[in-house]
């Protein structure tokens, strides 16, 4: 009788990983894309629509409203993503020597949700906002007012451009610094500078071309996000028409079936636009790297920025000075606008009377905080809350936006963490070079590349069809689609560079795989894991469109409240929600940093 084969852990992990991928990723994504395609061509059995045609595509493509909106989207999306990339490289060039400190600062910046940041900036840029108040107090009232082109909802999209750039820079800088732990890059920098090139020349000519290839994926994610952003665009983006994704959400929310079908066609077009954008950046990069093989002289046009003056051995170039001063300007704007936005948010949340053009309120109150934390709770004073703990008040607490936010955030972060660890362990078993694993890894980022509108219109349709909508588990899973890729992006590099010999030694001593994993590997990676958990949690808190569509108005989080209130222009309540939105991920960051710190130190080999 032949000996029975023992199933290896490699096979179990592979099967488990593949199963999770199919159930959690492939099937829902594929289904959501299909259910977006079908209505766009007029086919939706639920509404007894069987007339297949390209009518809605035609309406979408021929409508001048969409033309203007698409143009705005392309200009704001491209310019903000490229400026953020340049700014991130600039900050890395200025402060790479202080990476440890910079990472902490960046972690704090990453914790600020997009919508909260946009709300803060909207308080600064509003016609009676803080910038105008400052100008008034300085006696420069003729500059302020409606003549100022750089105000909220400006039709050029300058305010949206600014917040997109400032919000994406910390993320890209974090990824750049993470990809530079390699000693080789430090030595390249020293070599280049010893040849007589300044720091910024060395970055422009040597480091950026090398590092860009490593952070390409993160840049594509930022590009896709900038082209499809919804919440920030609603808060301070251009209007009449707004950017394409906002216009599509407006069409989708309409009661007229035809408009919804046009929204489906538009969502697919936005997906196509993002695909073409990413492809064109990729093609330019490939042309540059193949220019020697194919003798593509014209490819040098694209490489001007990074290779100007190389053959002449020019040690200084005006581009380097521009790069340097641009970087300092961005650092200043980032620090100034972020600090002021948080400050003004906080002040508005406690303001009772704040007349224009005073720089501070004349009286303060906490009533807006009480109202925001427990909207239906009476009496308004929170201190007497403990006397009212009964079934009804508990229900109120469970339905409160804060509780819902925390609950969904914890569930989606935990799920993302478990799936990430399973996948990363599978990667280790396959020695990182399995084509299947690489393909699988790339697929995790699909939700970040595909516009939210495609994915979420489809998922909403499926959720309603299967009666899974307005359900906390469905919503947590939708958040998971976004928390998981960010967690992978943060964990993948450090996990890959973990020295497996520690585990081998651990196994020879502990004789147990699980014990080695828990006692050796996890503590050594705890700092990265802590940051990844905090980022994932922050991503969940930030989710707007997914919560709005899947929650169907029955599940309300801090973010949906904040964005929806931005239309109401009640600055006090908006301030409260923005501060809560910032405080939740910030608290998560602080908890993970300080909770894991003792473990990290005690377990260091």
């Amino acid at each position: 009788m032949p000996p029975q084969k023992k199933i290896s852990s490699k096979r179990i992990l592979t099967l488990l990983g593949f199963f999770l991928w199919v159930v959690l990723f492939f099937l829902p994504l594929a289904a959501s894309i299909i259910v977006t395609i079908l209505p766009s061509i007029g086919y939706e059995p639920a509404l007894a629509q069987y007339d297949v045609s390209f009518r809605y595509w035609q309406q979408f493509l021929l409508d001048p409203l969409f033309h203007k909106s698409i143009l705005k989207t392309i200009i704001i999306g491209y310019t903000s993503a490229i400026t953020a990339l340049i700014g991130a490289f600039g900050i890395a060039a200025l402060f790479y020597k202080y990476t440890r400190h910079l990472i902490k600062w960046l972690a704090g910046m990453l914790a600020i949700p997009h919508a909260a940041f946009a709300l803060g900036v909207s308080f600064l840029l509003a016609p009676a906002g803080y910038f105008v108040r400052i100008l008034e107090s300085l006696g420069l009232s003729n500059i302020s007012g409606n003549h100022n082109p750089f105000l909220l909802f400006d039709h050029l999209g300058l305010s949206l451009f600014t917040v997109l750039v400032l919000k994406e820079i910390p993320f890209l800088t974090y990824i750049i610094l993470g990809s530079m732990k390699n000693h080789e890059i430090e030595n390249w920098l020293i070599t280049t500078r010893s040849l007589g090139y300044t720091n910024f020349a060395a970055w422009r000519k040597v480091i950026i071309p090398v590092v860009y290839k490593r952070i390409r994926l993160a840049f594509f994610i930022v590009l896709a996000y900038s082209l499809s952003v919804v919440d920030m665009s609603i808060i301070l983006g251009p209007q009449q028409p707004p950017t394409l994704s906002v216009l599509l959400v407006q069409f989708y929310s309409s009661d007229i079936t035809e408009m919804r079908f046009i929204a489906y066609a538009g969502a697919l077009f936005l997906g196509f636009l993002i695909g073409v954008s990413i492809l064109s950046f990729w093609v330019i990069e490939k042309l540059l790297s193949l220019r020697y093989v194919l003798s593509l002289r014209y490819a040098k046009v694209f490489s001007f920025i990074t290779s100007a003056g190389i053959m002449q051995g020019r040690r200084t170039h005006w581009l380097d000075s521009l790069f340097k001063w641009n970087s300092w300007l961005i650092v200043f704007l980032l620090a100034f606008i972020t600090t002021l936005a948080i400050f003004v948010n906080a002040v508005w949340s406690f303001a009772e009377r704040w007349r224009y053009p005073a720089l501070l309120p004349s009286s303060y109150t906490t009533k807006y905080w009480n109202r925001a934390l427990l909207p239906d709770f009476e009496p308004s004073n929170l201190l007497s809350f403990t006397q009212y703990l009964n079934k009804d008040t508990l229900e109120l607490i469970f339905n409160a936006p804060l509780f819902q936010t925390l609950c969904i955030g914890c569930l989606s972060t935990l799920a993302a963490f478990i799936v990430s660890i399973v996948f990363l362990e599978a990667v280790r078993l396959f020695k990182n070079n399995n084509l299947f694993i690489k393909g699988l890894y790339s697929s995790f980022f699909i939700p970040l590349i595909i516009p939210e509108t495609i994915l979420l219109f489809g998922i909403t349709f499926l959720a309603i069809y299967m009666s899974f909508n307005a359900n906390i588990l469905t919503l947590s899973w939708t958040h998971f689609l976004y928390t998981f890729p960010y967690m992978m992006l943060t964990l993948y590099g450090p996990y890959k560079s973990y020295d497996e010999r520690y585990s081998i030694i651990g196994r020879t001593l502990a004789k147990q795989k699980l014990k080695t994993f828990l006692k050796i590997k996890l503590p050594l990676l705890i700092r990265t894991i802590a940051i990844a958990l905090a980022i994932a949690f922050s991503v969940s808190v930030t989710q707007y469109l997914s919560t709005e569509l899947i929650g169907g108005g029955r599940i309300i989080t801090i973010t949906t409240e904040a964005v929806n209130l931005s239309v109401s222009l009640n600055r006090r309540i908006m301030g409260v929600y923005a501060i809560i939105q910032m405080a939740i991920p910030m608290t998560a960051f602080l908890i993970v940093f300080y909770a894991f710190k003792p473990l990290e130190h005690s377990q260091k080999p």
């Binding site: 070599t191 500078r193 010893s194 040849l195 007589g196 002449q312 051995g313 040690r315």
Partner: protein, 224 residues
């Protein structure tokens, strides 16, 4: 022209551990000075002091550095006139051989034809064919990459050459020939050179007439 390190003291801020105390050394032109020592003895720290890349938030640094009598310790690395060779060739992967060399070639040679000639002659000096100019670094052998890297440094006309374990990654048969090539190239320029190594063979391979001081650092505080 010589490079002088005067009264160099170095200690780690967090632990107060002193690595160097009043250390002095003169690296004379036309000579190759060797710096030997075990890991952690401070070889790299001294090299980083000369380059100006010691992180001030980690170390307490004292001492002066002068080249041909002029103080250079406040200058940034790009103004010090140092050429450095690491154990890896570190050719820039996105530039071909010609661009790597042109990138290194001193800026004061402005004439396009002259620059071409420098590169062509340089390639002949390191025994590489002209056709190699358009090739990308990853298509070259390890030995070819190492030679191009040396040439790139020399074309920048450095006033001092610093070698940070440059032969430690090479195979034995290739290593001896490459040592002779590097030392020969440096000595023909008549400039000061400092080699940091833990391998005695690297020191013994320096021609006797050009062998400068051999400084051995111990893991305890070094002073002279």
């Amino acid at each position: 022209m010589s490079l002088q390190v005067n009264n160099f003291s170095l200690s780690i801020k967090s632990s107060n551990r002193t690595l160097f105390k009043n250390f002095n050394v003169e690296i004379k032109k036309g000579q190759i000075t060797a710096l030997m020592g075990a890991s952690g003895s401070g070889k790299s720290s001294l090299l980083n002091f000369i380059l100006g890349t010691l992180p001030q938030e980690i170390f307490n640094i004292e001492g002066t550095l002068s080249l041909a009598g002029a103080s250079i310790d406040t200058l940034p690395i790009e103004k010090r006139g140092m050429g450095i060779l690491f154990q890896d060739p570190l050719l820039f992967p996105h530039m071909n051989v010609e661009e790597n060399l042109a990138f290194g070639l001193a800026e004061h040679i402005k004439n396009h034809k002259k620059r071409e000639t420098y590169i062509t002659n340089g390639l002949a000096e390191i025994h590489l064919p002209p056709a190699i100019r358009t090739r990308l670094p990853h298509t070259l052998s390890g030995g070819e990459q190492a030679r191009v890297s040396v040439l790139r440094t020399l074309l920048s006309f450095p006033k001092v050459i610093l070698l940070d374990e440059p032969f430690s990654k090479l195979d034995r048969p290739l290593c001896q020939a490459f040592r002779e090539f590097v030392y020969g190239s440096i000595l023909s320029r008549d400039i000061p050179a400092l080699i940091v190594t833990h391998d005695k063979a690297d020191v013994l391979a320096i021609p006797k007439h050009a062998r400068g001081k051999v400084i051995t650092l111990s893991s305890s505080t070094t002073s002279s």
